[in-house]
Assembly symmetry: C2
Homo-oligomer: 289 residues x 2
């Protein structure tokens, strides 16, 4: 199986698990909005990292699928809230109208909230010892909250209203929370499930997360709206500092390539078993969506 | 110690724990907004139920304080989101301006989100076996999400836009999610920590939760805004069906008294150890805030 087949296979598996677990909720518009937001698309890169880092530690996919689905539920909740008019105000996501456009702002708040709760429910699916499941849950709470993703988002919003433009250091801290925290959690999920040393994957994930964000900034400038299914050129229009505005387009691409090399180097600890994770690192800077 | 001293003592203890744990977050406006929302007031009735049901099962307060703080963080997040203009649109909470008035809507979204993550972090504070902590966390995810609190809130919002008024059965289901789920979780936390039968406390909590909500509807009509620190008479103004509009003021009060008697009866399983929980049941229908 090549990388893209493997990525697609894992996305299907996650989609199926989410689909089954959503079916257990009491039928309601809320459950419909959650399903709309969390199923039906996306590369499921975070879930893929969970499944691959689990496989690297001999954890079966059936025991890692809960964590892979949980991180996708957290990611989906953050997008639903981030797209709201009071946040980034986006009408399109993965080529579909956003939740607050299909329903309304109140439903977007509630669907995001309930997807976060859902993640902390999904996290325990599968056969792992209780202390390992608890470690996954606590680390997910850290990665999502006021020292992780929400922290990065709050810095992002503060930057929009602040007078002074952000420095490279500021942006790196902001993005390390906003997108880095969930990517790091995903790549480190496998060793957490196995009670193994997460050091090499932490180094991999830090480089990968930053490369991912730089690639996003490059896509925002060079990407195609029809392919990405979301509005582009937002940062330049908003006058926001990005890796591209600070490093230049070529400089940003070069930095992303260096980070991918660093991520791949961190995996030398695992030899050939980690080839799919190496491919994932190359993929994040070559993707066009 | 009488009931009110005990309630105050437990509120102080929870406040102190929240205060310490908030201090560990990276300093930010987000952390300030979270602190503003979750500290500095409230009866902490849910946290009190956690500590009392824990004491009833010989779980020390130091080992139950995490769960007591977690439920207060969930409650606070739900209030921050519920007060937003796209939801209930309230400017006052416990006599203070609401989070979106002090900051803005974006901060209200993020502070609520981060308080939910924070709850799933707090839940593991204290010395309990990992499987007990995990059971607390999973049941909290259920109680908060699309089969619990968020479900009740979505039904509430749908009722505002629907043409037909709600029946007694509709309102009971709505409230059993919106306020009942967290109250039940709180009262059942003790047996969950001890791996004991939660049956008697479940019966207690179901009756208590419903009595609490009926008392809230009565307060909405008869209460004093200066004492409650929030806007009253909202339901009548919005033309919403409530327990009072469906049962009449006297009928609603009589129903609440019957439920309190039922809650107290459910505690006969525990003899005198459960006196504070009996007092709590009497308290929910006699409070004026």
């Amino acid at each position: 199986m090549n990388f893209h087949e493997r990525l697609g296979f894992s996305a299907d598996r996650i989609e199926q698990h989410l689909d089954q677990r959503l079916a257990d909720l009491p039928p309601s518009e809320l459950a419909k909005a959650m399903r709309y937001a969390v199923t039906g698309g996306g590369k499921r890169l975070r879930g893929f990292l969970v499944l691959e880092s689990a496989a690297l530690h001999d954890i079966a996919a059936k025991d890692a699928i809960g964590a892979a689905s949980a991180i996708e539920a957290i990611h989906a909740y953050s997008l639903v809230h981030d797209d709201m008019p009071c946040m980034d105000d986006d009408d399109l996501r993965r080529g579909k109208p956003t939740v607050h456009k299909v329903w309304d702002d109140a439903m977007a708040v509630l669907a995001g909230d309930a997807l976060q709760s859902f993640a902390f429910d999904l996290i325990a699916d599968g056969d792992l010892a209780a202390d390992r499941k608890l470690a996954l849950s606590l680390s997910l709470a850290h990665a999502s909250g006021a020292a992780g993703m929400a922290y990065g988002q709050a810095l992002d919003i503060a930057a929009e209203t602040a007078g002074a433009p952000l420095s490279l250091e500021d942006i790196t801290r902001l993005q390390s929370g906003k997108t880095g925290a969930l990517i790091e959690w995903s790549a480190m999920a496998g060793p957490r499930m196995a009670g193994a040393d997460a050091g090499p994957l932490e180094r991999y994930a830090k480089a990968l997360g930053l490369a991912f964000q730089i690639a996003d900034d490059v896509l925002d400038v060079e990407g195609d709206e029809a392919r990405t299914g979301k509005r582009l050129n937002k940062d330049a229009e908003a006058g926001k500092a990005t890796f591209v505005s600070l490093l230049g387009l070529d400089g940003a691409k070069a930095r992303a390539r260096d980070l991918v090399a660093e991520a791949i180097d961190a995996l030398s600890f695992y030899s050939a078993q980690a080839d799919y994770l190496k491919d994932a690192a190359r993929f994040v800077i070559s993707r066009d969506t």
